[in-house]
């Protein structure tokens, strides 16, 4: 099993991207990911009660269809808080794409990221669809990975290659992050592709588990967006013996988690205004859930994050955050270790002395730059 720090599209997939004019900068803003053969899909969406139009459309498509062919993603506009009109807009763009690709609309998933509360400029997207769908190439993943970005400063990509029997399997992911990253699928989009042949149930479970220990273990500012989604397609083009359980499934899960964790860490590294990458490991907890809750409480504490920015070894702020986290905790059993703070990468270790479960969470420091960037987004 090997992890590559770049996007290698698996067999049977292609991609493309164009600049359709949603971004005023003229940068790439419309991406298409395409499977030449029908693929199974699994998705994890934001737990925000207000969900953007694309998520509503996707949830419906996941009920209506068992096979998917493509994912259409635009940046520059989140199509969120746009009501029924937002749904009509999203449906209208993918209907155009379905017509062009000669597939059914319900076989397409859709993603949007950018400004909230503004209607999508559907005409611009529709106008660009012939070029977008006409130019699909395997290596254009390198354009597509850029078209999904907003304030990100670099593309997030990762791939894992492994074998089931003699068949080579690839899992490839691209993501966008930047601000407003928190557990429970905060503002981020990730798209994952595999040529593995895997049972639908196994795919769903594997993605859910991988997300729980990767994207849901990162936090930038504790804010959770209306659009966050991890969408995965598996098209079976590797022609491996179908994965359902046992050792093959375990391999697949490990590989998928590696890709997700790599993307998640890249999102934190590129967080808006962040200066430091902070790993918080909580051990000796009663359960994984308690360990994670404790680690996230520290990771979301503005006072802790500001102290990390100032390289101030203020372990009291870690203790404070742990005490306020809501988990069961005793001052006596607690041990806090702060690694060297004058580095770009900082390690925090917390021993709770309550049990034997552990969790690791990734975050960044709070900087004056974060505030400046987020003070003027519109």
């Amino acid at each position: 099993m090997k992890l590559y720090k770049k996007a290698i599209l698996p067999s049977g997939f292609s991609a493309n991207a164009v600049a359709c004019g949603l971004k005023k900068s003229g940068k790439l803003d419309l991406a298409l990911f395409y499977s030449e053969v029908p693929a199974k899909a699994a998705c994890v969406f934001t737990s925000n009660k207000i969900q953007a139009a694309p998520i509503k459309v996707n949830k419906r498509h996941l009920k209506l269809s068992k096979k998917f062919r493509g994912i259409l993603v635009n940046s520059g506009n989140a199509n969120a808080f746009t009501g029924t009109l937002g749904i009509i807009d999203a449906v209208s763009t993918i209907q155009s794409l379905a017509n062009k690709l000669d597939i059914e609309r319900k076989e397409i998933l859709v993603g949007s990221t950018g400004i909230i509360g503004k209607r999508l400029e559907v005409r611009k997207i529709k106008k660009a669809i012939p070029d977008l769908a006409g130019g699909l190439k395997r290596r254009s993943i390198d354009k597509a990975k850029k078209a999904i970005l907003t304030t990100d400063t670099f593309a997030k990509e990762a791939s894992v290659v492994f074998y089931i029997g003699k068949k080579k399997i690839t899992i490839c992911g691209v993501a966008k992050g930047a601000g407003m990253i928190a557990p429970n699928m905060a503002t981020m989009l990730a798209f994952i592709f595999s040529d593995a042949d895997i049972a639908q149930g196994a795919l769903n479970t594997a993605l859910k588990a991988a997300v729980e220990r990767s994207f849901n273990c990162i936090t930038v500012d504790g804010c959770m967006s209306t659009n966050d989604s991890v969408m995965m397609l598996a098209n079976g083009a590797a022609a491996n013996r179908p994965i359902a359980a046992g050792r093959d499934y375990k391999f697949f899960r490990t590989a998928l988690e590696s890709v997700c964790l790599e993307l998640a860490k890249l999102i934190v590294r590129d967080a808006e205004g962040a200066g430091k990458f902070i790993q918080i490991k909580v051990t000796q907890a009663k359960s994984f859930a308690e360990a994670k809750k404790a680690a996230l409480a520290v990771a979301n504490s503005n006072l802790f994050k500001a102290a990390m920015h100032g390289e101030d070894p203020n372990f009291g702020r870690v203790a404070c955050a742990l005490g306020a986290s809501g988990i069961d905790i005793k001052e006596e059993g607690l041990e806090i270790r702060l690694g060297p703070l004058n580095k770009k990468d900082i390690n925090i270790e917390v021993e709770l002395g309550m049990g034997d479960a552990c969790a690791t969470v990734y975050t960044c420091d709070l900087t004056p730059e974060y505030v400046k960037i987020n003070a003027q987004y519109n």
Copy 2:
């Protein structure tokens, strides 16, 4: 009923403060609040699972004694995360004070604020106690209100005067705030004094209710400290007909809530690095608890707070925070109104369309200055 924006000690109370050397600046750092006659006490303490030594001592005294005579408060050191030694230190200082005042130790409450995780310099405090206890005066509340401050830029004080029958009752409060202010008694100390004669049960209930709608409705950065306390003494020196229920009790509650709310708002106005004072009113909620939860979710959103700093009318961030708050919410019924943002005071109104309860929460914007101040606290 009249609210005064200054501390007017009620009958039978006096105070004093000295600089005992805990603050390197040489500023006042040790305060004593004293009742000439035995007073009833009511307290609300932090819900942080890690509680500072003074809180542990106070909880014990509240069990042991029904009558209190004084509150000893130091700034410069929180005596938190100091284990058993911290308790010994706190007890040792108030034993000194008890000896000097010729009262029992259990009749004294104690408060500390400042750096976490460092042992209290007990010798400095003990050395200062004769001067402190020897110079008690009614008007020295003006020194005491300053001695409890840490990074605050001004003293917080408020008084309400009202009548029960022909007897004049005064409720007076002083507080310290600054950073790390959140609901559930985050880093803040408030001391409230009244000459009212009131039943113990009524006093407890009135204070709890007032705190719930004042100090627990403010948030600066969502962090909750190990020391937060509201301590109240009522000494009966007004010789009013005892308050227990009915109209008199209602009057008392309203007066007490006015004092607490005034102090709470002052804490937000003086929050570390804050540029704006933000009022978030949530109406049409299913319950007060849901309204407050929704309002606090907005108030604690870094993205929202940064947008307010930038005077960016980004209602999407309000919607995002509401959706992630955990309360039941529907996009359709939701109405968000942002008042003019180019002012020092900003009003946000949210109609949830779910019921008829409401709550108001107070917070400030997130500024680069907040980060800078909190990056170098030690």
